[in-house]
Symmetry: C2
Subunit: 196 residues, 2 copies
Amino acid sequence: MTKAPAARTGKRHHHGNLKQALVKAGISLLAEGGLGALSLRKCAARAGVSHAAPAHHFKGLKGLLTAIVAQGFETFTRYMIDARDQSADTPQAQLEGICQGYIAFSREYEAVATLMFMKDRFYTSDPEFQRTSSASYGVLAEACAPFRSGTMNEKAIETLVWSLVQGYVHLARSGMIDPLETPFETILPKFELRED
Amino acid sequence: MTKAPAARTGKRHHHGNLKQALVKAGISLLAEGGLGALSLRKCAARAGVSHAAPAHHFKGLKGLLTAIVAQGFETFTRYMIDARDQSADTPQAQLEGICQGYIAFSREYEAVATLMFMKDRFYTSDPEFQRTSSASYGVLAEACAPFRSGTMNEKAIETLVWSLVQGYVHLARSGMIDPLETPFETILPKFELRED
DNA sequence: TGTACATCAGTGAACGCGCGTTCACTGATGTAC
DNA sequence: TGTACATCAGTGAACGCGCGTTCACTGATGTAC
């Protein structure tokens, strides 16, 4: 037992679960001010701790960003699964659900979602990142599988769908397109089902 | 005549065309080190001028970035037109050409292309930016026009194509997909021609 | 149950960095006369 | 053709800022005895 007790009255020297608190602080900073609003010092301040404290928990700023990204992918996967499971039980509806979950996550965690694609800002060798990001891709690929055909193999259909939804998100985020004017479902191709 | 003479031997106090030189310096800095490598001071240094000099030509860093982005869109349009004009004279081939030009520009001017979508980093009210970016969109829209149909209006087909190619570029840039394994033409839908 | 001790997550001061911007200035240029 | 002058694109020093990181330290915690 090296963990501090879960709760205790009075000011304690040890924080309890600073690591998770810093990740949470980082996510809320990103939500409020975008990528530029996140720094080690601000995370520490928001977690109510001196600016040097994070060094005991993360390998520098990159380490903290790695944890934020890993948690981001975890949430991302959940968004996609939830939206899919609320959709009708046809391959087309399931895929559309996945895309809607993708879009919803990207809108609600805008800066986190952006950061998740900036591989030079965190440690891609981190096992937690690898696990959670692979899981996200797996969920997307699973929804694409029924649509592979003679002219489009599995990889191609995944690339098409992923590009389409990621581009849609990116353009909407930049204010280049208006999601209200052109909802995503109007541009998702009506794929044909594979005849095996 | 307020311009200095085009060439003159010996060290001159006035630069001649510092404005354009700073834009060029910025573009090459972006090419070499990405977005993080660009600063007013580095641009000035690369242009062989003191770090305070840019203030006489641009409204701060944002003003310089505005000029870089405007020039970026100019080049972007040219890439799309050139690739289109080298393609066969069918609507499908013309559209594919536009997309290939889009992709080529995004690859060769990676950081500039990224910057062009970050509207908070430059002045979107700049007339030159508005002119050049509108021209780029116009070229893309023109290539989409033949494919509008009963189920997909002009806006929808533009959004589909733009999202698809922008997402493809973004994912390739981030190392998420491999353009060699899945070239863009394999994921561009074979649109049907409108029957008028 | 009480005491000594090792651990280690915190503190806060200090460092050096590159940044954008401001400021008084200087000196080359083109023009008016 | 020559001179005085206004213009303005440059200089370089200085400012304050927030950043990540380092460092010696402190004091709360849990454990060994």
